[in-house]
């Protein structure tokens, strides 16, 4: 579904990604793991075209993303749930979800998708008229993911969904990801919490300093000595 071929990207003179290639097939859940500063967030940002593509190619279902501007990426079925949630703090939960359905294709299906999201996250329904900025971190994360789902995407990009959340909440978030998978969504997650995320995805790529160091099925990576030593602390 999504392919990255030899992608290079960065911020002005600073290059964050060097020749990264990866793919996500329909129905899969794939993770990109790696330490801080590896370029994981940049990876999702270049897919959404929020940062410029300096080299290589990106394609979604065969269609090239190379010259697509940032605000049209969502029309191709890619929804990006950004790092740190980035909800609109002074809009209500429901207004945030409405913003997720902004594109033309999504407006006509707003009511049914809203019902779906509220079904997934009953707490969101309780708080539908509450200002998003007043909610807890975990609730905001749910709302952010819900907002991503409102556009009816084919591929969901999740940027460090567990960041800054208490362990109990982290567990809930990953349960959510499992649930979303069950509903048939294809997911690409970027995460620092390697142990948790590898339990939820089929495959993973290890990104270090802007390059893919290794990849494989999640079980393989979990049992890989290097990975265990460097990242799981065993």
């Amino acid at each position: 579904m999504l392919t990255l071929e030899n992608v290079s990207a960065g911020y002005g003179t600073f290059q964050a990604l060097f020749g990264v290639s990866l793919e996500v097939r329909a129905g899969e859940a794939v993770a990109v793991i790696g330490p801080n500063g590896a370029g994981k967030t940049s990876l999702l940002r270049v897919i959404s075209k929020v940062i410029a593509l300096n080299g290589g190619h990106i394609a979604m279902e065969g269609q090239s993303l190379d010259s697509v501007p940032a605000h049209r990426v969502i029309e191709l079925g890619i929804a990006h749930v950004p790092e740190h949630r980035r909800l609109f703090p002074r809009l209500t939960v429901e207004e945030n979800l409405r913003m997720g359905a902004f594109i033309n294709g999504a407006r006509s299906r707003f009511d049914e998708r809203l019902a779906f999201v509220y079904d997934l996250f009953p707490r969101m329904k309780e708080r539908r008229h509450q200002l998003a900025g007043t909610m807890s971190g975990g609730e905001q994360q749910m709302c952010a993911i819900g907002r991503g789902l409102m556009s009816g995407p084919k591929l969901l990009l999740l940027d460090e969904p567990s960041a800054g959340l208490a362990p109990v909440i982290v567990q809930q978030v990953f349960d959510l990801v499992r649930r979303i998978r069950q509903e048939g969504y294809t997911v690409l997650i970027v995460e620092q919490n390697i142990q948790q995320v590898l339990k939820v995805v089929d495959r993973a790529y290890l990104l270090e300093v802007g390059r893919i160091k290794m990849s494989g099925a999640s079980r393989e990576l979990l049992e890989n000595d290097e990975v265990r030593r460097a990242y799981i602390g065993l």
Partner: protein
């Protein structure tokens, strides 16, 4: 300085103040939207209104266009000017020092005023439309002011509904809270800013429709109600529409009552001094938030 609370002239003044407040409230809306969303102050805002007034005047007087159509044209013209202003002048300096926005729109102020002087000359023009007055008790209230006030209220409500209930309106509110995340929702910030600028211009155009019923037209009239409009916005909290609304009425009453007891300038002097004092007491404005 003696007055009686039963003095009908006093009450007439108070109500006139209220009516004027409604118009000021409408004028401040456009400015507040632009500032609230794009974080820019259009110093030339009143000059845009001035051009709207001339548009209406010439269409009605020289081309015999019926007044409602002339009003519509006025609104559309100023809306277009607003978008043009943003695209040509604001966008290039959007990410530079904030003071540049103030200065560049100051340049536009000069430019538009000079252009109007050249094109229309300095003679005062008047639409010549009179609606008479209505007698309420012992007070005479000009119907044109009542119309202006009513239109303002309707416009404020309509704007509120637009911002609250439509996708575009929600996006306009959203972009001022987090601009960078907008593309992820499929919203182009550039497009929203243009729409907002057109909206601000349209509101200014609506203001022109009302003002043209109440006052004479002159290339420099921007200098008379421009500063007041800014002060109303700042008093209410720059960007805060409800605050601007409240501040408009307070200001209008200061002007009306202040001018009741002496020459009309004193009303303005008091209003401006009130503004300065308020800035010291509560610089972020009545409903502004400390940033």
């Amino acid at each position: 300085m003696e007055f009686s609370l039963l003095d009908p002239f006093l009450w007439e003044t108070v109500i006139q103040g209220l009516l004027f407040g409604g118009v000021l409230a409408l004028l401040s809306l456009g400015l507040n939207i632009i500032f609230g969303v794009i974080d820019v102050v259009w110093i030339c805002y009143a000059e845009l209104i001035m051009l709207g007034m001339y548009t209406i005047y010439f269409l009605y007087t020289d081309f015999g266009v019926p007044l409602p159509l002339a009003f519509l044209a006025g609104i559309l013209v100023v809306a277009a000017l607003g978008a043009l202003l943003h695209h040509l002048v604001i966008r290039p300096i959007l990410h530079t020092e904030p003071i540049n926005q103030l200065l560049v729109t100051g340049g536009v102020l000069f430019f538009l005023q000079g252009l109007a002087t050249m094109l229309f000359s300095v003679e005062f023009r008047n639409l010549g439309v009179s609606f008479g007055s209505v007698e309420v008790g012992e007070m005479y209230l000009p119907i044109s002011r009542i119309i202006a006030f009513s239109v303002s209220i309707v416009a404020v409500v309509a704007l509120w509904l637009f911002l609250k209930k439509t996708y575009l309106g929600t996006a306009i509110r959203a972009i001022s809270q987090d601009r960078d995340v907008m593309p992820l929702m499929g919203v182009s910030p550039r497009r929203i800013y243009l729409v907002t600028s057109a909206l601000g211009g349209g509101l200014a155009g609506l203001g022109a429709c009302l003002l043209v019923l109440l006052y004479d037209i002159h290339p420099a009239i921007g200098l008379t109600f421009g500063p007041i409009t800014f002060m109303v916005c700042v008093l209410g909290g720059l960007g805060n529409m409800i605050g601007g609304f409240i501040a408009a009425f307070i200001f209008a009453e200061f002007i009306a009552l202040g001018g009741f007891y002496a020459e009309v300038e004193w009303g303005y002097v008091r209003a401006f001094v009130f503004f300065i004092v308020m800035m010291f007491i509560r610089p972020q404005g009545i409903l502004g938030s400390k940033s």
